[in-house]
Symmetry: none
Subunit: 223 residues, 4 copies
DNA sequence: GATGAATGAGTCTTCATTCAT
DNA sequence: TATGAATGAAGACTCATTCAT
């Protein structure tokens, strides 16, 4: 009669692999995102992605047609679900405009800047010239929609007199920059240079919001 | 004391190959910068750099020990001369603080943002994780010095009562972002997405300056 | 004594999977033949063979130990039954020798040239150096027996005076060539080059036979 | 003073490689021909070709863009020069038609059958379906021109009464077969099966010529 | 028996680097 | 100095084979 020990040892004989078709796709995307963001497209070896996902090189090709397809799938699959959840409610809200701005910046950070989308952004900045389609996709699906939400907040505030009139197009561009750059930085130069120096998001966002609001405060005559 | 004319004549007397050697070096750096910025480190082939510089593959190795050395030489040689010429006078100037801010932003743009340094910045953002030394070098030689100049302007203006008190560390970070991101963007997503949409620097910088000044305007009670 | 009906009923009584097993084998051989002939050994993927046979990749291994084994099984199983049915009666026939020649050529064509054996021939010509055993098998089981039949017809005709004396060994080689080459061609260059140009077998064989007979006609003094 | 032995040892230090741009191309073609003929396209590894040509894997790519290009270059470069030298004089000759036939068959053998073209023929038969362009090229540049020469000899002989009327199209096809098949065989099944059995070309060609002439002999009434 | 997910050895191809000329 | 032919390590991709289900 087999002892428990024996049984255990039998059980411990791990199968060479497991059949997990459903999760593999996501695991590979995860691993690829991590490495592509950190090392860049060319410097990332498919075998490393596979290893990080716990599969072998060949398995990757059961899920993606090749390196480029994996890269593109990663972008579209990761971006699309995240972006649709952002900014939906803000535009239709009746809250005061300054509160909307608060929601916008803090919401952007929590739903975009602090998520995997920040890695995507760094990656796309790095590879835009080699993958212009991807750059356009990102521009159209992430940058432009977010900019539109911010623009509509500004326009509504200006129309209602809550904000003084400003050049909305430029303002949007200027005021998206800090949070966008912070996102990129956190996957790039940030980790290399005394990461403890990085300003914590809360402080960063509050200051940003305050400056934006003071620049928008009515009753001031633009110089 | 050597006159400029004398100096010039000395240079002209040098044998042709010597001057060739100098120019080859610069031509290779130029070509490398262009291609590394556009394609990234890995995707750039040394042979393409050599061809663009008008020499053969082997010749490149007479001037640089290898790909990595060329890459690093490119960074240090291009950054160092540019950065030392920036911000020297501003700190010691007695002009009004708002004028200094104007000089700072427009100066930064003309001496950094609109120069090859903008390409370097994109490149370093892209390759930081693979070349952390380079990232640190850039941080220390470009970001930090420029930030210090801006910080000192702010501090002086606050001290003199020209500006209201602000969190200088965060403000510097926030207000460098637009010009830094614009520099990076111009070598990355910008060229891929309807470049005519890009806001022209003059308008961009004026708006930025205006917002910064309104955020710094005294007589406002920070919320 | 079992009637045909009885035999049939016996077969029908076998459980379905048993008959399936038999037919799977044949279906795989069929699919493999088609693809190996068309694409060659290396360029044929086992998965394509399985798909064409309507099974999955893994199932193939339930019937054949591997690619090479399938390839060899294909050769032996396809050749052996066909070859034994050819030439049996001819050798013992008492018909006139010219009629035997007629039977030989038309019979060879209908039982070999126009069958799957022609594909096998092309395949073996292509892979002979990689599978010398197979080449020898083909030589011994197909070429040599057929040649012997033709040789015996010639020898009998010469002995009886119906044919003039010829170098039988060479003659056999020469007169097998057109039909053998036609068989190979039909799976190789033929399909690539205006297949409508191919001469139809009837006309081809009649002309061949006529020329052979005229070369064998007695009463002519060989030049 | 260095001894001769020393000098010798110094000399024996072979350079890691030699600069021989002119001959490499031909050496690679040679090596490729040998291996592609023997093993087929897929089973031939580029590294083996390179090794046989005495160079490394990478060097091959300095001369050919890839495997397929090497394969095609091999076909066109090897065929074209050989084919243009054959059959030129025969068509315009005033020699008796039977002598022309003799020249044709022996000439074809010496200039085609016994040359590297015979290997090409085997290779093309094997790979025709995968490289139909190549098959067509071979058909048009080798088969068709040679067939035309033979056809013109037959036609002239028939017109002059030296030969009896025959179906020239079929006759050409039939009478090219033995020499074509012998060429293919010599690179395929031949080497696998007791090569000493192969009939020597002289005897083979003489017998072929004799049979052809007897089939063409006038004064015979075609059945 | 049947399936197809998983594996990993094998091959083509690229390109940084070396070195004979 | 300058060249570019030659090298070989490295990586993307394929596919015969295995095996958990």
């Amino acid at each position: 009669m087999p002892t428990p020990t024996h049984q255990q040892s039998v059980r411990q004989r791990q199968p060479r692999w497991e059949r997990r078709k459903e999760s593999r796709h996501a695991e590979l995307i995860d691993a690829a995102l991590e490495l592509f963001v950190a090392r860049g497209y060319d410097a990332t070896r498919l075998e490393d992605i596979a290893a990080r996902a716990g599969v072998s090189k060949g398995t990757l090709y059961l899920y993606f047609a090749g390196k480029e397809e994996l890269f593109k799938a990663l972008v579209s699959e990761t971006i699309v679900p995240l972006i649709h959840s952002f900014g939906e409610g803000i535009a239709r809200s009746r809250a005061p405009s300054d509160e909307l701005l608060h929601r916008f910046f803090f919401g952007w950070w929590s739903k975009v800047g602090a998520t995997r989308l920040s890695g995507i952004a760094k990656m796309i900045v790095a590879e835009a010239r080699n993958f212009p389609d991807m750059a356009r996709f990102f521009q159209e699906e992430v940058i432009t929609p977010a900019s539109r939400v911010l623009a509509s907040i500004l326009e509504r505030g200006i129309a209602s007199g809550e904000f003084r009139p400003v050049d909305v197009e430029v303002a949007v561009n200027l005021w998206m920059s800090p949070i966008a750059l912070k996102a990129i930085w956190s996957h790039s130069i940030g980790p290399c240079c005394a990461p403890e120096l990085a300003i914590e998001p809360e402080r960063f966002l509050n200051a940003h919001l305050e400056f934006v609001l003071s620049a928008l405060a009515p009753g001031k005559i633009p110089s």
